[in-house]
Symmetry: C2
Subunit: 408 residues, 2 copies
């Protein structure tokens, strides 16, 4: 008889966002007139800017014309997009990349999960607590963990707590680890890593022969010129790190689907009989065997993000979100909250009042202010007592929500 | 030290299509004036029809407008598309499906590979020989096979030979199998399965408690009204089968990326202590954890495939390809070839002349006729001595290619 992958049964049932939706729905049903404002899920609200729409329409026209129609593209992405990525995101910051090191995909969520396919099940994985739930869940599914304990933490994963006490920067693990997930600017805490911090991690990875999986999906929100946007701005990082990027938040592509992953040619991991094996060809094989390229229309419009017009228009939109972040930060600080993030990231991380639990705070905010956020403990037990707000709502809604916060 | 997934090293180096490209490039470099016609890779050439382009432009306009902008969609797909799929592809054939049984994705290649995530590594997998290489390769990567032998067949996989002798319909495996990949209309042989044949497979799966992974990506090319389009047209199939569908060939979406998979709610597999576990929630969890939904633009245009205009226009394009298939079939038969497929499928499968090897025939055809096809052995050892041609070129090119065939 066919058997299931039993590791799936280890997954904790209540995935965060469905539970949030359930509570919101229940409240809205009981209070149909309540005008609920969501600062919960990290989804953009501003429409795609004109330069991107223009490129998208051109791509659609091409698809309707025999002479310019595009069928299957290269699984790894079109060179026109890869070249724009290398030039604008990397060369401009002193990082040289080869075309063969960039893999275009339909999303960073897929990439951060799928990348695990190419690594052995015996790797010990370190993940920050709190973190984006996909890092943990995809390792559980693959069988790299044991069962969850009552706090929802899985055996074999090395959790790295991030709290106000350590400035939301994880300490280097003392125990054995092989693969480390890092995300800066961080989801959910909004913390960023300086060059010094990232250098410490690169050194650590060298010494431990570990691999860093660096999620830089929010790099476009960095405002401080001293903060690196890419892990490869750190010397030697190409020997130890894979980087994930996305157009989702940078250019409002959450519904368009385009992202990319950088796997340096020189990155190696241990193969049979301890021999070092290059990782790039493995990902290339995985990518071309189980993926058929991102939509041509998505790729053509992603390339428009790098034109002068596209850059300026995307920057404007990000400014709108960052003004939201500032307003949230300053409003809550004024109300006496301890507030973190929101300076170089679209996420604001706050301590609940009077040590209320995250879910109690969620309910109180929903009921008393009709505002939705995300309970910190949904991202891991160290998030208990914290709460995440996102800067992606419209400025009007953010203003209105902040007014209501005063009353809870 | 981080370790790699060593199963990747079992994969045979020369993936079929890159080797085809290599030989074509080498020939073209030496013969820059040769006008090479490709009947090789299964990619469409007709542009998207007007009804789809119109829907696509509307979707793009929506993305540029705050009131109609779409961010993240449901991971499983928009209801507007799922409803159109259920109504048109299934209800019209007497199959009732629930929304929760349909999962929209960005491609059937991803789905047929990724579906394996939810099954145990101990399953014995049966795959036809020849077959679409992804079925084999994704099982190798996951570790469900041993090493390859000199013929390129992997230990532990149960291969089901399909040759002229059995009409390219595999015999039911006598040894133990848990998961069976079937593809009808078949890539590469173009064979189709009658109701009787599919019923035998459904019965077999029942008796053996096996699961059928049914790839129906080419169902739109069925012209014979007696041939089922879906495995679910067979009574009881919902208890034993998962079905994969794609808009790639049906509507020319190879560059647009949209597909879907049906996982019936009643389908079960063995879980801990032999207990039967529902498969649908596992796929739902996998899909929502490691995938973020297909592009809104792709989904909106896929829905247009089901409008009256869209249906008529897509049918017209398929007729163009099927006229190509007919021409290839009749031309080659006239030249004395044994020719298969091409009646209810866009693939024509032929026996090489005088028992020439597939690759020798490839080289001869390339050199003497400047026509590219795909060597049958690239799809598995039983494909040795066979050759695949696709019907997706333009009618002019097909006509020209057939003229040249006479001279080789």
């Amino acid at each position: 008889m066919a058997t299931i992958n039993e590791h799936f049964l280890k997954l904790r049932a209540g995935y965060l966002f469905p539970e949030v939706s359930r509570r919101v729905r229940a409240y809205q049903e009981k209070n149909p007139k309540a005008k609920i404002i969501s600062l919960g899920i990290g989804d953009v609200t501003q429409p795609l800017p004109p330069a991107i729409i223009k490129a998208m329409k051109k791509a659609v026209d091409e698809m309707g014309n025999k002479a310019t129609f595009h069928g299957y593209g290269p699984e790894r992405g079109y060179d026109f997009l890869i070249d724009a990525i290398i030039e604008n995101d990397y060369k401009s910051r002193g990082v040289d990349l080869d075309r063969s090191e960039v893999f275009v995909s339909d999303g960073a969520k897929c990439d951060t999960g799928n990348i695990l396919d190419i690594f052995g099940l015996d790797n010990v994985v370190a993940i920050t607590d709190p973190s984006y739930p996909v890092y943990v869940d995809s390792n559980v599914m693959a069988g790299r963990t044991g069962e969850a304990n009552t706090k929802g933490q899985y055996k074999k994963i090395v959790y790295m707590p991030c709290t106000a006490e350590n400035g939301f920067i994880p300490a280097l693990p003392k125990s054995h680890v092989d693969i480390v997930f890092l995300c800066f600017p961080n989801n959910p805490t909004g913390a960023v890593a300086t060059k010094k911090i990232l250098s410490k991690w690169v050194d650590f990875a060298y010494k431990r022969q570990a691999i860093l999986l660096f999620d830089a999906a929010y790099e476009a929100f960095i405002t401080d010129p001293k903060i690196p946007h890419s892990i490869y701005e750190i010397e030697g990082a190409k020997d130890v790190a894979i980087e994930f990027r996305s157009f989702s938040k940078t250019a409002g592509f959450t519904g368009v689907r385009c992202a990319f992953t950088v796997v340096p040619k020189q990155l190696k991991a241990k193969g049979p009989r301890g021999k070092a094996v290059k990782v790039n060809p493995l990902w290339s094989r995985r990518h071309s065997t189980k993926f058929n390229g991102a939509s041509y229309i998505s790729q053509a419009s992603a390339a428009a993000v790098y034109t002068d017009e596209g850059k300026e228009q995307c920057r404007k939109i990000i400014k709108i979100y960052m003004r939201n972040a500032n307003l949230i930060h300053s409003s809550l600080a004024r109300l006496g909250y301890q507030v973190y993030g929101g300076k170089n990231a679209p996420y604001i991380w706050l301590k609940t009042l009077s040590n209320m639990s995250s879910w109690n705070f969620f309910d109180r905010l929903l009921q008393n202010a009709n505002v939705v956020g995300t309970p910190g403990e949904g991202f891991g037990p160290a998030g208990q007592g914290y709460f995440r707000l996102t800067a992606f709502a419209t400025p009007e809604n953010v203003k209105e929500a902040m007014g209501r916060f005063a009353g809870i």
